[in-house]
Symmetry: C3
Subunit: 363 residues, 3 copies
């Protein structure tokens, strides 16, 4: 037990990094759920995550040296294997078993490195929410990362109500304020570990980010826009987006002329007030034109900076006045369910109840 137990769910998988962040022998120092972690790829190809703090005097192991799948602290030379056990102390013969650091389970899926911050005995790789488009050659995209000075749930909130597209992203990802008025979601499906919702914006203008990746001749066409969102605990956002010629009903039949996207976003708490945000926005058309993925990545960066400005401003205001109580709108059904469910999971985890082994993360 420590003072983060009431804040974070521990026994679940979090995205720790993109695999490309560990190329060339990099020792990545990354704080996750307020714990200092060092991530590296051993010389055998194995991914390793250890406490980024030597058990001796507390020096960061990320300032150390990779030796095989081991890591040597470069303060007094203590060498740790991938299980976290100290296996060498220069100048000392006997090595007590107490000389060790925590080793976190790590798994790679679709170029994402997932980490388990809770009890390692419960770290079942089957619980990882794999997203097939990330390793399907029919989908193309660029992995990206953004750091937020905000609690991860404020980003979950943001993604739980797409009405914000209308006001925050009018000229980038949204396209018009009409989106907020006309695209009310038909229903929100409550899942055991999250929610699912679908939102249609019929007969709309293609939004600016779409225009950048379609031929100019298509810019004037009207489209039916469909966003279908699934959000899972602890902060996994998956969205299918399609733009269908307006009124064609093509979503139900052949998809000729339909443009589709697959979007995955991962919110991993760095601390209670800062977040690692990973995403990839993939497309399956004009797949041989590399500029489409680049354009989409850049559009998303532009859009996410619009979110970041408002979300970080929220965090500042929330920090300044802990007595502030948010008021709920009708559109908050999804985020309210998510927050309540997460709270329940955290409670159960602390009481040693069912959530301490999440048997079906994907509801």
């Amino acid at each position: 037990m420590d003072n983060t137990d009431q804040i974070f769910l521990k026994n679940c998988w979090y995205v720790a990094a993109w695999d490309h962040e560990l190329i060339d022998g990099r020792k990545l120092a990354r704080t996750i759920l307020e714990k200092p972690v060092v991530l590296f790829r051993g010389e055998s190809g194995k991914y390793v995550a250890l406490d980024d703090r030597c058990c001796h005097r507390g020096a960061p192991l990320s300032m150390g040296r990779i030796e095989g799948d081991c890591l040597r602290c470069m303060y007094h030379g203590m060498k740790y294997d991938s299980s976290g056990a100290c296996i060498e102390v220069p100048g000392q013969e006997r090595i007590p078993k107490t000389l060790k650091v925590h080793s976190y389970p790590v798994e790679e899926r679709g170029h994402l490195l997932w980490i388990w911050m809770g009890d390692p005995a419960l770290a079942d790789p089957e619980l990882i929410v794999d997203y097939p488009p990330l390793h399907d050659p029919e989908w193309r995209g660029l992995p990206a990362y953004l750091h937020y000075d905000a609690n991860w749930l404020l980003i979950v909130d943001n993604l739980s109500d797409l009405a914000h597209l209308a006001f925050v992203h009018t000229n980038t990802l949204g396209g018009s304020e009409e989106y907020a008025y006309k695209s009310k979601p038909p229903k929100v499906e409550r899942l055991e570990k999250g929610f699912r919702l679908e939102r249609w914006h019929r007969n709309s203008e293609p939004p600016p980010y779409l225009k950048k990746v379609i031929p100019p001749s298509d810019h004037e066409l009207r489209v039916d826009r469909r966003n279908c969102v699934t959000m899972y605990i602890p902060g996994i956002f998956l969205m299918e987006t399609m733009f269908v010629p307006a009124g064609s009903g093509k979503e139900n039949g052949d998809l000729e002329g339909v443009r589709q996207f697959r979007n995955s976003q991962y919110m991993t708490p760095e601390t209670r007030s800062t977040t690692h945000f990973f995403w990839n926005y993939l497309h399956n058309f004009d797949i041989d034109n590399p500029n489409i993925a680049i354009s989409l990545r850049d559009s998303l960066i532009e859009g996410f900076h619009e979110d970041k400005a408002i979300i970080e401003a929220q965090q500042v205001l929330l920090d300044r006045d802990p007595s502030f109580r948010m008021r709920t709108l009708e559109a908050d059904v999804a985020l309210t369910h998510f927050r309540q469910t997460l709270k329940k999971c955290i409670s159960e985890e602390n009481e040693g109840g069912p959530s301490s082994s999440i048997t079906s993360a994907v509801g």
Copy 2:
């Protein structure tokens, strides 16, 4: 009740801004008494001050959009009228009365916008300390602003003992160290809500800031310098200054050859350790020469930066050691009366006593 109630007097008028700060549709985000406030001028010309925090998810309304006299939050599009009531939620038909933010009374006087942070029912505009030179065409000056990283009472202290002119402002506003030794104030008049004092420095050299706005031929003349100060709660400093030819006694008769200034300074707590400082230093001679006002503004900026250096250094030292107890000098009569009076007003306000409606701010 919140944790600022013991620190700030709420039921009184504070200067929130100069009116020129709200031209061109600016939404001014300004923290006052540790509350986030957004100030704007509606399209009807009305001044409005609202909580700078949407009641929904806490986004800043200062990132919003002025529509008529209303303000729309640009996160999910909630629209607030000037009373703080939410009058539109895009995509939602019924709007509960609980969707609202606080609206602060605001009044303009002499280009200053005054705000009432306490109970709006007590916000009597008659209590505003209007300063006629600010809207009298016979007086000319330039409004100015400075931000202090210091509690506002340290600035009140500073202004309560003009002896500091001698040491802090020797080469700018003061003119000599002699001022501290020779210009002892005849008496301090205790007011119900502040104090009044007068200080003569007879037969002195014109101080550097005065020399910049008078002809070189007058630089060698000796002057009798009179400063007459009134300070009101919560932090309103008004000063009449005149320079009379030394020994002429002109202060009692015709004012030919006498140079006069009117100086108003307003200390508004941003937080308990930072302050908004507004001022205008006006003159009534050579009124058609605009460079005099510019020179005086620049001299005051120079002088106030001298104060700011020492006052912010005080704040750092006070923050570091809350056990430090200041020692009182004889010259501290005025500041001691002011601090005691303010403390009494705050106590009474918290007990719901007489100060909760200040009937005569100007004693």
Copy 3:
């Protein structure tokens, strides 16, 4: 008693400054044991250390003016003599005895200014640990200073186990990782107020910093390297280093061809998490070549920045998790003794026991 009493030993001498820091009338503002101190040299040549906080309104005296051996506060002009007594208040005739600031005993030894932060009545100059090479013309070096964002004991720890030379300073002060494996110290001598240890690295390559100050023709010679360390409370590190032709045994006889260094380092707490670090690394060969001292100073700056990177990273990690408990290695005998001894001295000081007058700082 204040909240630093459990952290710092008060009744002992600390290095406050190098004497060259006070030339040209400088008023040095330096925080020592979390107290603001102003140090200056009066016009008589006397060194003075006062509270850097006027007793009146808390303005820093380091913004004041030296007058003789006195210091005048430049806020309202109060003048303090070197005992800390206020001897003038402009505009006030009677000066109460309560108008005063604390005056700290200061003594100069070997260009170091030592300060006594505890009870002045106990400040016996005989307790100062004088280091003769600092004022012996046979030794030459350059005094230097570094600021650490780390608790001083982390630097004491660092210097208590020279094995770190092998890993932190491989290419600067150390020379090889072999040092950690082959130079195990024969024994640590526990002193009443510190420890002494000796460490030989036989038949080794000259380390990089040594190569820079010896002729190229000597770079290939093997040496026996001897480090002999003494550490005293509160944080005084003295080290004799010699490089003897390998196997020659010259350390016992004539020192022809032996290169020697004298190194003194002083860790003075600025706060519980920041440190003033003073040092001089002296040599006694080629004494007329000034570039040797410059090279050694630069090599030490380079090496100390290697320490600083790792020690400041430790401090960040320790601050983040106060529950972390360091694990002890066999090589930690010296640092463990030092920390236990210091802890005992602090306890005794707070109980008014024997340590409140340290009778033999040098054990």
